[in-house]
Amino acid sequence: MIELEQVHRVFQVGDQEVHALDGVDLTIAAGEYVSLMGPSGSGKSTLLNIIGLLDRPTAGTYRLNGRDTTTLSDDEQARARSENIGFVFQFFHLVPRLTAAENVELPLVLAGRAPVDRRPMVETAIGQMGLTERSHHRPDQLSGGERQRVAIARATVMRPGVLLADEPTGNLDTTTGKEVVEIIEALHAAGMAVIVVTHDPQIGGRAERSLTMMDGRLVDDIRRRA
């Protein structure tokens, strides 16, 4: 469902050109569980942002579900993001003034769903994360693990085909980090494609497929049977 062909991304830093991505070819099928590893500055976040349609390649093509995304307008891109992609961040990025339930509801609100349709979807997503009791708490009343679970509920409430997680455990202790990884793996088991960017080889090693990046290129692509 994700096909990248000779994707380049060049940033202008001062009068110097930095090749964050230098000709990446990558195909990820629906329902795959992929980890993306590599040192800082190797281009993994840039790759994730391009897959998540937050960034556009300088050159090359990116097809999402067979559709070329480089020619999409801003509106169409936003829509594709809303329908196909869920984001989970290292720093959770919850809206502090909204309750857990309202944070989870946001993607549905932005997509213009009717309030009657939204409620059951929010309840299901929150229930899956075991947060029903905490749904009316604000982020500052929740623990780190709970916050990340709210963020995952928010990322999956639209039932996207792909979940993109950028260092989802980077801001959590080992125990809660493990819980979050298990939740993500449960989503994969239910059929969602998952791409996890991580520094932690232990977490990276749990994926069916491990990609390693170096200086903007994919240098390793290991597949193992789970």
């Binding site: 937050l54 801003d74 891109q77 936003a78 993001r81 003034r97 993607p107």
Partner: protein, 402 residues
């Protein structure tokens, strides 16, 4: 995105940043309230003056000595040409014009009025029996000046209620002899009318026959001649006739000014209308300032909320939606501010009206509408720049908090 959701999200932000929102509301409210109070005052002044002039009577044409236009070469000025006086004979001549209903010659001066050791300096009108009807005045007690030859003096006087109270107290005044200047007059009636006319308190005057007043003030000329026509349609014709008759009597010199009440009213209407507009303009400046304030604060808000904007984009918000959210905030602020200003402004006008009951306060109909429209428009105009800036943020950099 649904309108209700946009309002809900924006409202949430406004409530969270309570102090900031209140300050902006205050700025807009002051602007709108200023527009309403200032236009109320301007409008009140206009209504006050209009009412004053209408109280003079209806279908009036006022004849004044002298001509308002400048004609001829500058040399005539040095030749010592002065306008001829208006005389009682002129007034009598005007009575013969068919379009004219009543004619009242008027002499005005100030004199001391005495009775029983008390003395009071008041305006003294000299006129005829028609004066009462032309001015729409009514009598409290007794009679007004009797009809008869206006050129014959007679020692009778009509006085206002305040003058009566000051001189006589509770004692009866009718039939008593009072001294006006150096002459004696018998009081034959008391005026009931209250209020002011050309700045004079009607209750504090004495009215005597025109010929007596001329003798008292030692003058042959009239202050003016007030005439009334039968109908409103007669006014134009009557004015032209007046000019013709007086010109004939004054050896071919048109040395008078005849103004219709309508013309005076229209002039004052224009002057005060312009005054109200000018006041509204001044107040509108404060609205513009409020708008710029909103823009400033919204720009700060955009830079404070970059991470949130980035997040919204990651969750599938298009540029348009981000713009809508920020614009909605600015519009809500200015609209609520305008409403608050409307209340404060109306309350302020009401309060001023209570303190100065003479002023018929109340803003012109257009003022509150215009104030709200300007406030909301400035919210939109000054909200666009911050909203565009928010929408244009690069989501990757915004999420990284850069």
């Amino acid at each position: 995105m649904r309108v209700r959701d946009v309002l809900h999200l924006s409202w949430g932000t406004l409530v969270r940043t309570r102090l900031r929102s209140l300050m902006l509301l205050l700025a807009t409210a002051i602007g709108v309230a200023a527009v309403i109070v200032l236009t109320s005052l301007g409008e009140a002044a206009r209504r006050y003056v209009t009412a004053e002039f209408s109280s003079l009577g209806t279908n009036l044409i006022i004849v004044l000595p002298g001509r308002s236009e400048t004609t001829g070469s500058g040399l005539t000025l040095f030749a010592g040409q002065t306008p001829r006086d208006l005389t009682i004979q002129d007034a009598v001549a005007l009575e013969r014009i068919s379009a004219i209903d009543k004619v009242a010659p008027v002499v005005l001066g100030a004199a001391s009025v005495q009775w029983g050791g008390r003395e009071r300096e008041v305006p003294v009108f000299g006129s005829t029996a028609s004066f009462l009807e032309i001015r729409n005045w009514t009598m409290e007690r007794g009679r007004f000046l009797p009809p008869g030859d206006p050129e014959r003096p007679s020692s009778v006087a009509v006085i206002g209620m305040k003058l009566k109270a000051e001189l006589f107290g509770d004692a009866p005044a009718i039939g008593e002899w009072i001294r006006i200047g150096d002459r004696r007059f018998r009081v034959i009636g008391l005026l009931a009318t209250e209020g002011r006319t050309i700045g004079i308190d009607v209750q504090d005057v004495a009215i005597i026959p025109v010929a007596s007043a001329q003798a008292l003030f030692n003058t042959e000329s009239l202050f003016r001649i007030i005439t009334s026509t039968h109908t409103r349609e007669d006014m134009e014709r009557a004015r032209d006739e007046i000019r013709r008759v007086i010109t004939e009597r004054h050896q071919g010199e048109e040395d008078i000014t005849a103004v219709t009440q309508d013309a005076v009213l229209a002039t004052f209407d224009r002057i005060f209308g312009a005054l109200t507009l000018a006041l509204a303009g001044i107040a509108a400046i404060s609205l513009a300032v409020a708008g710029i304030l909103i823009m400033n604060v919204m720009l700060v808000a955009v830079s404070q909320r970059t991470a949130e904007i980035g997040l919204l984009k990651a969750l599938g918000a298009a540029r348009r939606q981000i713009m809508t959210l920020f614009l909605a905030e600015a519009i809500m602020l200015s609209f609520i501010g305008a409403m608050a200003g409307l209340l404060v402004g109306q309350g302020g006008s009401w309060l001023i009206g209570r303190l100065y009951p003479v002023l018929p306060l109340g803003p012109p109909v257009w003022a509150p509408i215009a104030a709200i429209v300007i406030a909301v428009t400035s919210g939109i105009v000054f909200g666009i720049l911050p909203a565009r800036r928010a929408a244009a943020l690069d989501p990757v950099e915004a999420l990284a908090g850069r």
